[in-house]
């Protein structure tokens, strides 16, 4: 991933007013590194595409697909909410 243009820039290079002019560049940051040993694993055959895990994920690490969801481990912090909230137990927390 590229580093933001204004990382460690000089005073005459930083954007005007200390503004951040690159919207949403937080996406470059791998919050997935925060996981401590356990990650959620989805059993697609069990999933009924209710999207509860998607709406309850604090990170937006669960992506919607055609008939199911997909966990994005680049961002998943391993909180385990999705596993607890899944009504059909399709997500289990497993050792990395």
């Amino acid at each position: 991933m590229s580093e933001p243009k204004n990382k460690l820039s000089a005073w005459n290079e930083v954007p005007f007013g200390g503004y951040i002019l690159t919207p949403g560049n937080a996406r470059e940051y791998r919050t997935g590194d925060w996981r401590e040993g356990k990650k959620p694993v989805l059993r697609k055959d069990k999933c009924n595409n209710c999207l509860l895990c998607w709406i309850f994920c604090p990170e937006g690490a669960i992506e919607r697909e055609e008939n199911s969801v997909k966990i994005n481990y680049y961002y998943c912090k391993g909180c385990g909410i999705c596993s607890v909230e899944c009504p059909v137990k399709a997500i289990e927390m497993e050792e990395e």
Partner: protein, 398 residues
């Protein structure tokens, strides 16, 4: 040129604001600026101003609302004084670090405690580090002109900093003087509509007011400081442009009777006029005293100040506040700092004068000059400062 009218300082400010076509005005009353927002409210009710008025519930919220409004690209104005300036303290720093061209009129008034509604500059001197440009007016005509200049300076592409236009509470704010208004088309020609650099725009979203950890904070602040220093040359350009269009004579400071002066007074605001009167009288008596009236306090024009004072033997700074626990008032510290590197620098004494609106007359300045002449003759000072207009040991009263 418009007609000649008689207005108070506050009324003159309101007239100027109206003519500058503001978009948003945040209002909160406080003596002695209240009439500014009252006049603006009346103009607005008559349909003479096309703006959104925000009657904020405190000065802190008034400045916060100004910040929000200015971020949209609107031309924004507010007015305050004394406790109000103190209350909005943190937001003043935010306004300048966000690089917003807000203009605020201040009717200088003393700070509590005790409660005092009369004039000194403890309010604006107390916020000299907040990053705002500060311009001080000597009379009602200047109060009117400076508002117009202030918007031009603030909105300049190379400046983008907020400006305080200050005039003395009651002495100027409530005093009726004759002044000449400018015609609307003259002002429109001088001050075009604001062109914001990064207005709020969902098509171009920006994040303003992030967390600046130590790895980034200094760079952002130094950028702001450099812009603040550079604004001095734009201020001079705007004064020149104004002068050539309207036949005025504005500059960052004005020396008077300085050519062969042995000692000098440095004054700011309305007391510069009183001091000038004293200087003229003393000149007739043969005393070699001059006066420099400072108009722009921030950014501090240290080079120009140095040039104007370098040849005298002693400078008496007519301070308008006490910086408690130091060597007099805030203005004198700046003067001492500016003069320090001179090979033959003059002695500098601070004379905090007219605190809390204490009546100050030319006789006070004659007393000050006596002391300065003694300092010049002895080539040494005995005290760093002497309060003028106070009964008691170590102070001066007439």
């Amino acid at each position: 040129m418009g007609k000649i009218v008689a207005l108070t300082g506050n009324e003159a400010v309101a007239h100027a604001v109206k003519q500058c076509r503001p978009d948003v005005i945040a209002m909160y009353p406080i003596t002695p600026q209240t009439q500014i927002v009252e006049e603006l409210s009346q103009f607005h009710a008559n349909g003479e101003i096309d703006a959104e008025l925000i009657p904020a519930e405190s000065e802190h919220s008034a400045m916060s609302a100004c910040i929000g409004a200015s971020l949209t690209g609107a031309r924004v104005f507010t007015a305050s004084a004394s406790q109000g300036i103190a209350l909005m303290y943190e937001m003043l720093f935010v306004a300048s670090s966000f690089r917003l061209p807000i203009v605020m009129a201040v009717s200088n008034r003393a700070l509590n405690s005790p409660l005092n509604i009369w004039n000194d500059m403890s309010d604006t001197m107390g916020v000299r580090d907040c990053g705002w440009i500060q311009i001080y007016n000597q009379n009602v005509q200047e109060s009117y002109h400076t508002i117009i200049q202030a918007f031009k300076i603030a909105e300049d592409k190379e400046v983008q900093l907020p400006v305080m236009s200050c005039h003395d509470g009651f002495v100027i704010s409530h005093a009726t003087e004759g002044l000449q208004l400018l015609e609307q088309k003259e002002i429109d020609g001088f001050l075009p509509p604001r062109e914001a650099i990064h207005p709020i725009d969902v098509k171009n979203p920006i994040t303003v007011g992030c967390v600046g950890i130590p790895e980034y904070y200094p760079e952002i602040k130094v950028q702001q400081e450099v812009a603040t220093q550079n604004s001095l040359k734009i201020i001079k350009k705007v004064f020149q442009d104004f002068n050539s269009r309207f036949g005025t004579n504005y500059s960052v400071l004005s020396p008077h009777e300085m050519d062969d002066a042995e000692v000098a007074l440095l004054a700011i605001g309305s007391l510069a006029g009183t001091a000038k009167e004293a200087v003229d009288k003393m000149r007739k008596e043969g005393k070699k005293v001059g006066i420099v009236a400072l108009r722009v306090f921030r950014p501090f024009p240290h080079k120009e100040l140095c040039d104007s004072l370098k040849n005298v033997k002693a400078v008496g700074v007519i301070d308008r506040n006490i910086s408690f626990g130091s060597m007099g008032g805030a203005l004198s510290m700046e003067v001492r700092a500016a003069l320090y590197e001179l090979k033959n620098r003059p002695h500098v004494m601070s004379f905090p004068t007219g605190l809390g609106g204490r009546d100050t007359r030319p006789e006070h300045f004659e007393k000050v000059t006596e002391i300065l002449l003694e300092v010049a003759q002895k080539d040494s000072i005995e005290e760093n400062y002497k309060v003028v207009g106070c009964r008691g040991p170590g102070c001066i009263e007439v």
